[in-house]
């Protein structure tokens, strides 16, 4: 039973892998525990990526429950966050280590 699940899982995995690369890319920069820009407009129902550049010396965790992502970004480095297609709407994100200042929103339309 479990090996069957594993097989189905693998099949889906490989069938789905090829069309993952072509996703549109956006950039957000963290500086002094704030995001710039604080608002990103993306097309709804399409996968996209956000490159998060952390210009601070301290690490930050890019997190959004609504977009189902959490990713640690070490100080003075950048990371790509991949996001599944979103229905139209507002999707807030935060820097979890500095939640009072590091806030932003993705608007899918």
């Amino acid at each position: 039973m479990r090996s069957l699940f594993a097989l189905v899982g693998l099949a889906v995995l490989f069938a789905a892998a090829p069309d993952t690369v072509r996703a549109q890319d956006y950039t957000v920069t963290i500086k002094d525990h704030r995001f710039t820009p604080t608002e990103i407009k993306v097309p709804a129902n399409k996968r996209f990526e956000i490159t998060v550049i952390n210009d601070d010396a301290t690490p930050e965790e890019f997190e959004s429950k609504p977009m189902k992502v959490e990713k640690v970004i070490p100080g003075k480095s950048k990371a790509v966050v991949r996001i599944a297609p979103l229905k139209p709407g507002r999707y807030p994100f935060v820097g979890e280590f500095h939640e009072s200042t590091a806030k932003g929103v993705v608007i899918a339309e």
Binding site: P66, K68, S77, K87
Partner: protein, 275 residues
């Protein structure tokens, strides 16, 4: 200081719940304290290493290293939990019986404890590396670090207290039922981890099929709230599960159920053992 305390506490409770459940699930097994300690110590050491290499892990696999790392850790933990539950289905009854008769620890094989020590280690490693990075950030920023650091350490202490609360709460269950309860808790824990794992694969850009949201209960219980976070750790509560997450959740529960069913000794063996 309070802010740091809350951030660290939130990171620690997930691992704390797991440790509490594992401690309760191994009640009466000799040497469990040592195994769980090894798990925690290994996890803390691992968290430090992961934090140091966070940059490298993040850049690996075309920037999907961190997601693949998390997905793998969760997948290994799921397998270990299944292993433990299968073993417990076979031997739990004997342990519970001896515990009632003798009231002392029973010596059993070390096998399932290896599995659970690994689960504890991985849970501590995953959550711990974030705590280490956060605390490092405070230290690195210098100036007002003292109060924040105190807050962070208090957060860890609060997490440990929470673990103890989970443990003693579960101990209140009569020993006849404790292994069935902990087995089901572990099954739900594993299902939640499996569904989290496939979401990380999705974030890695690997498993992107069936990623539409099935429902949205964020209006009812936010996953970011303390209670939402606890339910997330305990039963895998997700405010917007994807189709794939839901399927994997149910499949894991089903696989766990079948496994426990087949591992259970047949009634005849049972009678023989009782005589």
């Amino acid at each position: 200081m309070l802010g740091a305390l809350i951030i660290v506490f939130r990171e620690v409770i997930e691992a704390g719940l797991i440790v509490g459940i594992v401690m309760a699930a191994t009640r009466g097994v000799a040497g469990r304290g040592r195994w769980v300690s090894i798990g925690i110590a290994g996890g803390v050491a691992g968290a430090g290493v992961v934090a140091v290499f966070a940059g490298g892990i993040s850049q690996a696999f075309e920037g999907a290293g961190q997601e693949l790392f998390n997905a793998s850790i969760l997948a290994v933990a799921v397998v270990m939990l299944m292993w433990h539950n299968a073993w417990m289905a076979r031997h739990g009854r004997e342990i519970a019986k001896e515990m009632r008769n003798v009231g002392t620890a029973v010596s059993q094989g070390a096998r399932p404890l290896t599995a659970l020590a690994i689960v504890v280690g991985l849970a501590v490693l995953r959550e711990g590396s974030e705590v280490v990075l956060f605390l490092y950030g405070i230290l690195a920023s210098g100036t007002s670090g003292g109060a924040l650091l105190t807050g962070g350490l208090l957060g860890i202490a609060a997490g440990a207290a929470f673990t103890a609360l989970t443990y003693f709460g579960l101990l209140a269950i009569p020993s006849r039922y404790i292994f069935s309860v902990t087995s089901w808790l572990i099954a739900l824990l594993a299902a939640g981890m499996a569904s989290q794992s496939v979401q990380f694969l999705n974030n890695a850009g690997l498993l992107v099929a069936l990623d539409s949201t099935v429902w949205d209960t964020s209006w009812l219980l936010s996953e970011g709230s303390l209670f939402g976070k606890m339910l997330h750790a305990l039963i895998g509560y997700t405010e917007r599960p994807s189709e794939m997450q839901l399927m994997v959740y149910i499949a894991t529960l089903l696989a766990m159920f079948l496994l426990m069913r087949f591992a259970r000794p047949s009634p005849r063996q049972h009678v023989a053992a009782a005589e």
